[in-house]
């Protein structure tokens, strides 16, 4: 059975996908790498932009997303964040698509 990911891991997967593409990525790549439905991905991206982890860049008809310093910091501290949440029993699971 596929293991459920928690919310923080989904965020980590999205940020990691952006970082892997030199810090800028197109939404289709995020969709492919994060293994989320389109609606869920849009919700997560909205949250990530709102929290300042990611910025949206619009060039002509193309939409790309770039990591901010806060986003890079999240990635570097992810092990600590996930360890804290798991140890204190706070991790929130996300239903797979």
């Amino acid at each position: 059975m596929k293991k459920k990911r928690d919310r923080l891991q989904v965020i980590h997967d999205i940020l990691k996908a952006i970082a892997a593409k030199n810090g800028t990525i197109r939404p289709t790549h995020i969709l492919y790498k994060s293994n989320l439905s389109h609606q869920m991905m849009e919700e997560y991206l909205g949250e990530l932009i709102g929290n300042g982890f990611v910025v949206e860049i619009k060039k002509e008809d193309r939409r790309t997303y770039a990591l901010t310093e806060k986003g890079f910091k999240y990635l570097s501290q992810y092990k600590y964040i996930s360890e804290f949440m798991d140890s204190f029993g706070l991790a929130e699971e996300v239903k797979p698509i």
Partner: protein, 209 residues
């Protein structure tokens, strides 16, 4: 509401232990606040406010007991401080429950708080307050046990044991007796030491900037 019957030999020691509770819960609150700045998770924010208010409630309890032991305050003053202690403790516990249920709607929080508050005001006994606290701590213990069954981490088990100790401590405090008051303080101290130990273990994973 009546204030506890503290054994003579335990006077001063209880205040010292409460000071430790203030410090540990403040440390837990600060760490959750720092984590919230990193990951912007609602759970961390609720955890930070929850432990912060518990810290404030223990500080109020400390002042209240110091005034009661030295008999340097009127009954009315003590009753007001006691009311403040009950309110901060209850809100703190409900915020912790919010963190564990991933509850984001404040309306639910207000509803639950109102129901409990009305119940406590009507009965006006500390026994009911401590039993409500025991129920909430028991809920947190159950939730963390479920998390442990999913991830089987020793640290999660330790956190759930800490919440069980806090549940037992609250149950004992509901019995207004000198011995149970003493045992409850020891149980609560053990619980917070376990939570602090878990935090120290987790902090090893933090990368220095």
């Amino acid at each position: 509401m009546n204030i506890h019957i503290c054994p003579t030999w335990f006077r001063g020691i209880d205040i010292f232990l409460e000071l430790i509770f203030v410090i540990i819960t403040a440390v837990l609150s600060y760490q959750a606040y720092k984590l919230n700045k990193l990951c912007k998770a609602q759970e961390c924010s609720s955890l930070s406010w929850g432990f912060g208010l518990l810290s404030a409630s223990y500080a109020i309890q400390l002042i209240m007991n110091a005034l009661a032991h030295t008999q340097s305050a009127t009954i009315l003053t003590l009753q007001i401080i006691l009311g403040l202690y009950v309110a901060t403790h209850l809100v703190g516990l409900l915020l912790l429950a919010m963190a564990y249920t991933h509850l984001k709607k404040q309306s639910y929080f207000i509803l639950i708080f109102s129901i409990i508050s009305v119940g406590l005001v009507i009965t006006s006994t500390l026994t009911h307050f401590y039993l409500v606290s025991a129920i909430i701590f028991g809920f947190l213990a159950t939730h963390t046990i479920q998390s442990y069954r999913k991830n089987t981490r020793t640290k999660t088990l330790i956190v759930s044991i800490a919440f069980m100790l806090l549940t037992a401590g609250s149950i004992l405090l509901s019995v207004t007796d000198g011995i149970t008051y003493t045992i409850a303080h020891v149980l609560v101290l053990s619980a917070y030491i376990l939570l602090l130990r878990t935090l120290v273990w987790v902090k090893r994973y933090e990368k220095k900037a």
